[in-house]
C-alpha cells in the first residue's frame, strides 16, 4: 500500500502540476498584495498625514464612552468591547490597523479563495488523477498487476489528500511570505473574535470570545482544508467517470462557477442550500458573515458537504471496481 502511494506521489510530482499551481498562486498573491497596498495608500491619504496613534487613541476613547452608556444593548456592547481590545492591541504593539500584517492578509486571502480559487487549483490536480491513466493507456499496465482495484484507487485518493494538504500549505506560505515583504510579518497574536451568531433577530455576539489570530488562522485553514477535500473528492469522482480530462475539468469548473453566481442571487430559493457549492464558504461561519441563505449554520454546511463527500467516494469506488477496462 505504502509503495503504491509512493508511486502515485512520484507520478504526481513528475507531472509538475504542483509547480504550476505554485507559480499561478505566486502571481496572484503578488497582484493581490499590490492591490491591497494601493488601498492602504489611498486610505492613508484620505486620513491625512496625521499620526495614526492619536486617531486610534481617540477612537478607543470614543468607544469606551459609548460602552459606559447603559442604554446600548448587551450584544452590541460585547462587539464594542472586542473592538476596543483589538484597537488597544494595535496601539500597544505599534501596528497601524489600516496596514494589515502578513497574517491578516493570509487569513483574508484564504477566506476569499475558499469557494473558487482554491477549488480550481485542487481541480487541476484531482481531475486527471484517474482519467489521465485512461487517456495515456497506462491504466492497463496498472491493472494487470496482482493488486486489488480498490487498493489502486485508494492509493490515488490518499495521494489526492496529500496533494490537497500540500497545496493549502503552499498557499499559506506563499501569501504569508510575499505579503509579509510589503506589510511586515507581525500580528500573529492579534486578538480575533469568534462565536457570532447570525439569527433571524440579527447579529448576536453574546457568545463571542477572543482568541489569538494564529489560532483563528489554524481554524480557517482547517475548514478550508475540509472544503478542499470535498471538492477534490468530487473532481476525483468525475475523473473516474469520464475518460476525458478536459471534459471532467469543464464539468467541475461549471459547477463551481454556478455556485459562485448562485450564492449571489439565491436567498429566495431555499432548497439551493443543499448544493455543495453554496456550502463552501465555511470560513464565513467563523468570522460571522451572513450565510447566502438564511438559516444555514456551520453544522448544516458540514453535514451537507459530508453527504456529498461520502456519495462521491461511494460512486468512485463502486464504479472503478466494476468498470470494464478496454
Amino acid at each position: 500500500m505504502n509503495k503504491l502511494i509512493q508511486n502515485e506521489m512520484l507520478k504526481l510530482l513528475a507531472r509538475k502540476r504542483l509547480i504550476v499551481v505554485g507559480i499561478i498562486l505566486s502571481i496572484l498573491v503578488v497582484l493581490f498584495t499590490y492591490a491591497q497596498y494601493q488601498t492602504v495608500q489611498t486610505q492613508l491619504k484620505k486620513l491625512g498625514t496625521t499620526d495614526w496613534r492619536t486617531t486610534l487613541q481617540q477612537q478607543i476613547i470614543d468607544t469606551q464612552n459609548r460602552l459606559s452608556n447603559s442604554r446600548i444593548p448587551d450584544d452590541f456592547k460585547k462587539e464594542l468591547e472586542v473592538r476596543v481590545k483589538q484597537q488597544q492591541y494595535y496601539l500597544d504593539n505599534d501596528i497601524n490597523p489600516a496596514e494589515p500584517g502578513a497574517p491578516s492578509f493570509t487569513k483574508e486571502f484564504m477566506e476569499n479563495s475558499i469557494d473558487l480559487l482554491l477549488p480550481l487549483m485542487i481541480m487541476v490536480i484531482a481531475s486527471d488523477l484517474v482519467s489521465s491513466e485512461f487517456s495515456m493507456g497506462s491504466i492497463k499496465l496498472l491493472l494487470t498487476r496482482p493488486v486489488k482495484r480498490w487498493k489502486i484507487l485508494f492509493s490515488k485518493y490518499v495521494t489526492l489528500l496529500l496533494a490537497i494538504s500540500l497545496i493549502i500549505a503552499m498557499m499559506g506560505m506563499i501569501s504569508y511570505l510575499i505579503s509579509g515583504v510589503v506589510f511586515g510579518f507581525k500580528g500573529w497574536t492579534a486578538p480575533e473574535f469568534i462565536g457570532f451568531q447570525i439569527t433571524e433577530a440579527g447579529f448576536d455576539a453574546s457568545g463571542a470570545s477572543i482568541i489569538p489570530q494564529w489560532q483563528f488562522i489554524l481554524m480557517d485553514f482547517g475548514v478550508v482544508w475540509f472544503a478542499a477535500v470535498v471538492v477534490g473528492t468530487l473532481s476525483f469522482m468525475v475523473s473516474v467517470l469520464i475518460r476525458s480530462t478536459a471534459a471532467g475539468m469543464g464539468i467541475i469548473l461549471a459547477l463551481l462557477i454556478a455556485g459562485a453566481i448562485l450564492s449571489n442571487m439565491v436567498s429566495s430559493w431555499t432548497s439551493a442550500k443543499y448544493f455543495f457549492m453554496l456550502n463552501m464558504r465555511l470560513t464565513d461561519y467563523l468570522n460571522g458573515s451572513p450565510p447566502p441563505i438564511e438559516g444555514m449554520t456551520l453544522s448544516f454546511s458540514l453535514a451537507v458537504l459530508t453527504v456529498w463527500w461520502l456519495l462521491a467516494l461511494f460512486i468512485s469506488f463502486g464504479v472503478f471496481t466494476k468498470k470494464d477496462i478496454y
Binding site: 509512493q6 490537497i164 500540500l166
Partner: protein, 268 residues
C-alpha cells in the same frame, strides 16, 4: 526521463511525508474549528438560561439599592478598557456583597467642570433621580484644575487660586443642592490624584492638588453624611502603572483601586 525519476525519489518521499504531516495539521485545525464553534453554541444556550434566572430574581425582590453617580470622565470610566470605570467595579462589588438588587445611574459626562455639574444637578430629571438615591457618588474638579494639563504646564499660583475659588463656590452649591434634594443618602465626594506627579515639577503640582483636596474635604465636612474619599495616596507611588495611555485618566487597575476604596466605606 529515467534520470529524472531516480533523482526525484528521495525528494518525493520527503514531500510525501511533509504532506502527511500537513494533512494531520489541517485535520487538527478543522476539528478545533468545529469543536470551538459547537462549544460556543452550547455555552450560549447556557448563558441565556442564566440570564432569565437573574431577571426573575430581580423581580422578586422589592427593596433595592439605588446609586446615582454624577461628575466627569472618571465617573464615565474613560480609560478603562472594559468601559466600566470605578462605578462599574463598585457596582460589581456591591452586587456580589448585597442581597438586594443594585440599580446604578451613571450620569457622568466626560470633560465636565464644576459649573456645568452644578447646572446638571439642578435640572429636574437629575434632581428627581438624586431624590431616590441611597448613595450619591461625585467626581469633579479634575477638569477645573488640570484643564487637560494646561494649568500645571504654565504653572501660575495666582491663576490656580482664582480657579480654586470658583470651584469651591460651585462645589458648595452642588453639595448643598444634592443634600437638600435628598437628606438621607450618603454622599461620597471622590478626591483628585495627581497624574503629573512623575513629571519635572511633580512636587509643585502635588502641593497644589493636596491643597485642592484639603479645601474639597472642608467643603464636604460642612454637609452631614457627606464623606470625602481621598485618592491622592493611591496614585502617589507608581502612578504610571495605574494610568491609561493618555497619562491622565486611570486604567482598569486605577479604577479598581478607587472602587475598592469607596466600597470599603459602604455600610449595609
Amino acid at each position: 526521463m529515467c534520470e529524472v525519476f531516480i533523482l526525484k525519489k528521495p525528494l518525493s518521499i520527503v514531500i510525501t511525508a511533509l504532506s502527511a504531516v500537513l494533512l494531520c495539521v489541517w485535520l487538527g485545525g478543522f476539528l478545533y474549528a468545529v469543536q470551538t464553534n459547537l462549544n460556543v453554541q452550547a455555552d450560549e444556550s447556557k448563558n441565556t438560561s442564566q440570564d432569565t434566572g437573574k431577571k426573575s430574581q430581580a423581580v422578586n425582590n422589592e427593596k433595592d439599592l439605588k446609586v446615582v453617580a454624577v461628575g466627569d470622565s472618571l465617573t464615565r470610566g474613560m480609560g478603562d478598557e472594559t468601559g466600566k470605570g470605578y462605578i462599574g467595579y463598585l457596582t460589581d462589588e456591591m452586587k456580589a456583597k448585597s442581597k438586594k438588587p443594585v440599580i446604578v445611574q451613571n450620569l457622568g459626562i466626560s470633560g465636565q467642570k464644576s459649573d456645568s455639574l452644578l447646572a446638571q444637578v439642578k435640572t429636574y430629571s437629575v434632581t428627581r433621580q438624586l431624590k431616590e438615591a441611597d448613595y450619591i457618588l461625585i467626581t469633579i474638579g479634575g477638569n477645573d484644575l488640570f484643564q487637560g494639563g494646561q494649568t500645571l504646564v504654565d504653572f501660575q499660583p495666582a491663576a490656580v487660586k482664582s480657579i480654586q475659588q470658583k470651584y469651591l463656590h460651585n462645589l458648595e452649591a452642588i453639595l448643598s443642592h444634592v443634600r437638600s434634594s435628598n437628606s438621607g443618602a450618603v454622599i461620597f465626594l471622590v478626591g483628585l490624584y495627581n497624574p503629573f506627579i512623575e513629571l519635572e515639577n511633580g512636587k509643585d503640582t502635588s502641593q497644589v492638588v493636596r491643597e485642592w483636596n484639603y479645601k474639597s474635604a472642608e467643603a464636604a465636612a460642612k454637609q452631614i453624611k457627606t464623606v470625602y474619599v481621598p485618592t491622592f495616596d493611591l496614585f502617589e507611588l507608581k502612578v504610571n502603572d495605574y494610568l491609561y495611555t493618555d497619562r491622565f485618566h486611570p486604567n482598569s487597575k486605577g479604577y479598581r483601586l478607587i472602587a475598592e476604596r469607596v466600597a470599603a466605606l459602604l455600610t449595609w
